[in-house]
């Protein structure tokens, strides 16, 4: 909200809102009076006209020290005023220095404006009603004639309008000032936002992970079982029906082979998603499965004393699975190594090979996706792949999200 929008007139307000603004502004004046004006008057009252320099010094410092000492209390009162009367929630950590700016400057200024608005309003009421009291004003020295009464009425209307505008503008200014000085401030606001985002991202990553698990379970309990059952039946047909014509045998044979291929494909798909073995037995067991299936010899070493969060395990699994697939596709390696160890309290995954090297995540391979997935859980991804090899991928993951 810019300053211009804060002071823009809003004549379309409902009476209800005007009442709310008046109550809010008046409460502000009252708070400021108690916090500031009243302490300021104390020394003058006590020291009777405050003639000595000490008295003057006291008179000047008490109003400053008072709010400074009472800042936490004042802040709480002001925040409550905003919450109760304006329904504006202002929260944040205590930042006494900034809050003092509000209590010493912004708050009093707005309160002063509020007093002015009351003055305008009262003056306006008196001036506009001039025709009502002019007749009874005989005792007053000032008796407006009809012409000046008319001017007074117009002026009163202007004053009322001014008060009307001022009240709304003050409420908006006060809200802005309070949010800026009593609220969390830009740094804390960013901090809170980062916290929110981290939380919501972790939620999104977890949700995606849970979804993968669900799909795996559905495929496993549904399609995969049916396919195996079908393949078994076709295999039985193949094995037992010897008296079929050759063409029929051929068809059955073909169907049997395709069913088996479908099972294999489905297993591969499930393995790429989120294998059940990962949930049930952990990284070690799941990784030995993909290491054994790799088309080149893989040395595997998994040494993590306790299991990490499921999402972290899933990412570690994905890293190894993708890295090995990449090595098989591009590296022209004769062997690969996979190590999962604990570095400090973080799981570290290292995949190396003795291939041609020159792997570059920027050149659109599986590596970019790998780095992305690692980044999604705040892990670090590092690759060293000089031309001629060897290539080493190092990934460090948090142990929990």
């Amino acid at each position: 909200m810019s300053l211009r929008t804060a002071i823009r007139p809003a004549f379309g307000r409902s009476p209800h809102r005007l009442g709310r603004d008046v109550r809010f502004g008046s409460a502000g004046i009252a708070v400021q009076f108690v916090a500031w004006a009243a302490p300021m008057s104390v020394p003058w009252v006590i020291y009777d006209n405050a003639s000595s320099p000490v008295d003057i010094l006291l008179a000047l410092t008490v109003p400053l020290i008072g709010p400074a000492v009472a800042t936490p209390l004042l802040t709480r009162v002001q925040r409550q005023r905003f919450a109760a009367l304006l329904d504006v929630g202002i929260t944040g950590p205590p930042r006494a220095r900034r809050q003092l700016w509000y209590h010493l400057l912004a708050g009093p200024a707005v309160a002063f404006g509020g007093v002015l608005a009351w003055g305008f309003a009262l003056g306006g009421v008196v001036a506009t009603t001039v025709f009502l009291w002019r007749q009874q004003a005989g005792r007053l020295k000032f008796l407006p004639d009809a012409t000046s009464a008319a001017y007074l009425t117009v002026g009163g209307c202007a004053l009322l309008a001014l008060a009307y505008w001022l009240i709304a503008a003050l409420v908006r200014l006060d809200t802005r000032a309070a949010t800026a000085f009593l609220g969390p401030g830009p740094a804390a606001e960013l901090e809170r936002r980062v916290e929110d985002l981290t939380e919501s991202r972790a939620g999104a990553v977890d949700a995606a992970d849970a979804e993968r698990r669900r799909i795996e379970r559905d495929l496993h309990d549904g399609a995969q079982r049916r396919l195996v059952s079908m393949a078994v039946n076709l295999g039985l047909a193949k094995a037992t029906m010897d008296d079929l014509p050759e063409a029929a045998c051929k068809v059955i044979d073909e169907a049997h082979r395709e069913a088996k291929e479908a099972i294999e494909e489905l297993s591969n798909l499930v393995r790429g998603l989120h294998p059940a073995v990962l949930d049930e037995l952990g990284l070690d067991a799941a990784l030995s499965g993909i290491a054994a299936r790799a088309p080149l010899p893989v040395r595997l070493r998994v040494d993590v004393p306790e299991r990490a969060a499921p999402t972290v395990e899933a990412v570690a699994y994905f890293v190894v699975s993708e890295a090995l697939a990449n090595i098989a596709k591009h590296a022209r390696a004769t062997r690969a190594g996979v190590g999962v160890v604990r570095a400090g309290d973080r799981p570290r995954v290292v995949v190396d090979d003795d291939g041609a090297g020159g792997a570059d995540p920027a050149r659109g391979s599986g590596l970019a996706g790998l780095a992305q997935r690692v980044g999604s859980v705040d892990g670090t991804f590092d690759i060293s792949s000089p031309l001629g090899g060897p290539t080493v991928i190092t990934v460090e993951l948090p142990c929990a999200l």
Binding site: S229, V232, A239, H256, A276, A285, G289, V298
Partner: protein, 218 residues
């Protein structure tokens, strides 16, 4: 020969029953959990139990635990475990305590009916049948040891041996002569420093060393 089948998926159980019957076994009991399996084995004393690894109520390793119990309490009943995926720890558990009448295959192998029937008969007859995937996965664990001294051909032979094949079976699978297989096996025995003893015993030892379960005599 008599068989008991424990598998919680009805669809697969029906298929399994048919395959086991095709193999010439009489299916004397079907059950869908480990408790039912143990009860059926105690009552029927079958020659073989075909067991799913994951079964109610926990859907984890109920089948493996039941298999270990069966092999210990009723040694005449062989066990063929079927699993959705390979877990070499289970295989190691099974083979550490028992080196005969034990099989561990992936479920989808049932579809290769003839090979599955072959494995079924082998296990029922006191032999072993390990899924090639199990073997490959156990190999990943091997680091520097005498196995590295084996040639790739010898390694192939040992893998098939671990899978429970006879010399003839190995010869068939690798398309080499049986005498060549015997030569490879002798060379394996030599390289693994296995003591001269009865041939079958050395065979088991070689397989165990290969699988990394138990260094000494079984």
């Amino acid at each position: 020969m008599r068989a008991v089948i424990a598998e919680d998926s009805v669809l697969l159980r029906i298929g399994l029953v048919k395959v086991v019957q095709t193999a010439g076994f009489e299916v004397v009991a079907e059950t869908d959990d480990a408790e039912g399996l143990l009860a059926a084995v105690e009552e029927q004393r079958p020659d073989i139990a075909v067991v799913d690894v994951r079964m109610p109520p926990g859907f984890t390793d109920e089948g493996v635990r039941a298999a270990l119990l069966i092999r210990r309490q009723w040694p005449d009943t062989a066990v063929l475990l079927l699993s959705q995926y390979v877990e070499e720890r289970y295989a190691a558990d099974l083979l550490t305590s028992h080196t005969s009448g034990i099989g561990y295959l992936l479920k989808q192998r049932v579809a290769d009916v003839e090979e599955f029937i072959d494995a079924l008969r082998r296990v029922a007859g006191g032999g072993t049948a390990l899924d090639p995937q199990v073997v490959a996965q156990l190999l990943v664990r091997r680091h520097s040891d005498p196995l590295d001294r084996l040639t790739s051909r010898e390694r192939d032979v040992l893998e098939l041996m671990a899978g429970g094949r006879s010399n003839a079976g190995i010869a068939g699978a690798l398309v080499i002569s049986e005498s060549a297989v015997a030569k490879h096996i002798n060379s394996i025995f030599g390289k693994l420093d296995l003591p001269v003893a009865e041939a079958d015993h050395r065979r088991v030892l070689a397989v165990l060393r290969f699988l990394g379960v138990g260094r000494g005599a079984p």
